[in-house]
Symmetry: C2
Subunit: 404 residues, 2 copies
């Protein structure tokens, strides 16, 4: 079932899915889902400086409410994740079920419940099958290994591939390891919502630095992808640093190196979610140049990335620049502010109006597993990138399919 | 080709598609489109008090820029509309082409160009085939009749049915007539964008009243529909009052009667656009109760109406309340503010959590040509309604289809 994840970047090797020092992971089928692994656990042998980034949706799963009460602040030792049931909109019973899952893990690995985080993903509004989860705990513990693969598979819902990546980072005082794992492919049948992300490092880090680096990297990666413009009730990204390498991340130059690797990994994983979007046939990269690096520009890039008309045009390999320009106009951009639009590197719009281009040739070039749209505006000197995927007939089929 | 439009309301009769007194209309095929009528004209024998409401998209068609320069203010005598080409993002040439279309009509009906409005709908970025349009002018004039049907058909792009309705309104001093015509079914292959609306009355009205009533009625009707969340570059709604009935609309009670009819007609026409959305199989009505009547509530209702997950669930007759509640949460609504959610009148959520209901029976009831979602919040005492349609496989097929 577990396939090596094709990474497509040079310096992050495809075969390395080892967890950093002092971390172990496991995944089992506890019986909530029919065959697939549906319960995962990550354990750290040492206390971790930890931080989390959570959904802005006002309706939050029980696991999120618990994790938000612990982060930042608590020294974390474990994260448990179940897939198939979101434990959201399940009332006080749901809160109790989550508490029991956390308590069981705490007992299992002999730490306090305050040191255990949880995450749930799956159907909204059905009670967690907590008995099945509890019964699987001993097996889960017995399967703990130093590989990320089991865990990365157990957290999936409708994803077609597990998403994980490991790298070593050489710092001035030694080498540390960084592993990223995530899941997500849209909000789906029936609300298998949720983007989950986990970053683990054996670097020794101050909690404040963990928090700062996570927020920075999330902002330009996971916050810039869209499959369908929906925000899940359970989105969470965690970052744990357990210090097992005994190499401290403190020197500004080292921090810069680490930040760069973390950002690169975050963008890679974020793209892998967009690429694995429900029914997606290709990744779309929207690169806005000539903008100010602020929330307004991010909103603009995201608006392009959720446009149903752009997403369907790209599904049909149609270099339909009218839809791109109209969407920019809808977001308040004047025609003369749009200096250039390129699709797959071919200019289709220049200085306020559309230009002649080889339509058939460009369409042929769009028959690729990724399509890049470069837009040059005259609003600033920065660049913002957002990722999305095309809308296919399959997206509708997946999401219109009746639950029962 | 012209089928009587099925109206479905009691007091607006299906067979009456007569224009108000002093108005005539026509439609011809000028050759831009292969077979279908693609050029329409409405003429008034008398000067009209007139107003218009236009797209907020910053990129506007040449016809809009011209109409916006004339309204409010000019006494209007004619509106010409071509379908198939939006004349948007066509540079200075597009402005000149539009001017020529307006000038030709002015000469044709012997009024000044300042008294002629134009509207274009169709492909963005291709030059208007102005020669074909000019050549068809004499035929267009020769076909002017007192019926709305020819015009209503000539302005269509991907709409499956023409959309028009006429009614008589009895006021204290006599009877006036009101006709509404519109088109629109999403932004489409390849950007046959645009919602166009025309309200014509033979009541005698002050320009300020024309303007006020149009803005009020548009706000709760055409501004509350969505097919795919896209805003076209050419959206326009016009309201012309030519006074041919010699009955003045001035008495506050009369104004109230007229306002009510105009609102009713606007909502009916707006719904008919949503129902005719690209690939749509059913109309969706989102009724938000317990809100404050303001822009924030309208935005909330519209957000529900553009949710791909809700639209696909309704396509699949899936009473998937998790998606509705998650979308409300995404827009900042807390779970405990959601007092009740009903689908087709059946309660699926009550006081902060989902409740038991007959899933199979409700799904059966959703196999209808319209689905109503009632949401009771605790934020105010008003109600807001938005209309949309489901997302079907056909929506993707229509919009992914390559242009050439």
């Amino acid at each position: 079932m577990i396939q090596p994840f094709e990474l497509g970047t040079d310096d992050i090797a495809a075969t390395v899915t080892q967890l950093p020092k002092g971390f172990t992971g496991a995944g089992v089928n506890c019986g909530v889902r029919k065959y697939r692994p549906d319960l995962g656990l990550i354990v750290s042998d040492f206390d971790c400086a930890a931080s989390g980034v959570f959904t802005k949706n006002k309706i939050k799963g029980a696991s999120l409410l618990d994790a938000m009460s612990k982060l930042p602040g608590q020294k974390i030792r474990a994260i448990v994740t179940n897939s198939g049931q979101a434990n959201t909109a399940t009332g006080e019973g749901g809160v109790q079920d989550n508490k029991r899952m956390v308590d069981e893990v705490a007992q299992l690995v002999d730490v306090s419940p305050g040191q255990v985080l949880s995450a749930s993903t799956g159907v909204i509004g059905v009670p967690l099958e907590i008995e099945k989860i509890c019964r699987a705990m001993p097996e889960l513990k017995s399967r703990l290994t130093t590989s990320a693969n089991q865990f990365a598979t157990a957290i999936l819902t409708t994803d077609l591939v597990p998403k994980m990546v490991s790298t070593e980072i050489v710092l001035s005082e030694g080498t540390v390891r960084l592993t990223g794992i995530c899941k997500g492919s849209g909000m789906i049948h029936p609300n298998m919502a949720t983007m989950l992300g986990y970053f683990l490092t054996d670097a020794k880090m101050e909690p404040g630095l963990v928090d700062q680096l996570l927020k920075e990297s999330t902002n330009d990666s996971f916050n810039m992808i869209s499959v369908d413009g929906e925000t899940s009730t359970n989105d969470s990204v965690f970052f744990l640093a357990n210090g097992a390498s005994e190499v401290e991340l403190k020197d500004p130059k080292d921090i810069e190196v680490f930040r760069e690797k973390l950002m690169q990994m975050s963008k890679f994983l974020a793209q892998s979610i967009a690429r694995d979007g429900e029914g997606a046939t290709r990744l779309i990269q929207f690169k806005l140049n000539g903008v100010v690096d602020n929330d307004e520009s991010r909103r603009l890039a995201r608006s392009l990335s959720i446009s149903p008309l752009i997403k369907t045009a790209i599904n049909g390999c149609d270099p339909n620049w009218g839809r791109i320009v109209a969407r920019l106009g809808m977001e308040g951009i004047e025609a003369n502010a749009i200096l250039e639009v390129q699709v797959q590197g071919m200019t289709v719009w220049s200085r306020g109006e559309g230009i002649q281009f080889d339509d058939a040739e460009l369409s042929r070039q769009m028959r690729s597993d990724s399509v890049t749209i470069d837009i040059q505006l005259n609003l600033g000197a920065d660049s913002i990138t957002a990722w999305s995927c095309d809308y296919s007939v399959k997206y509708i089929e997946i999401n219109a399919d009746y639950r029962t």
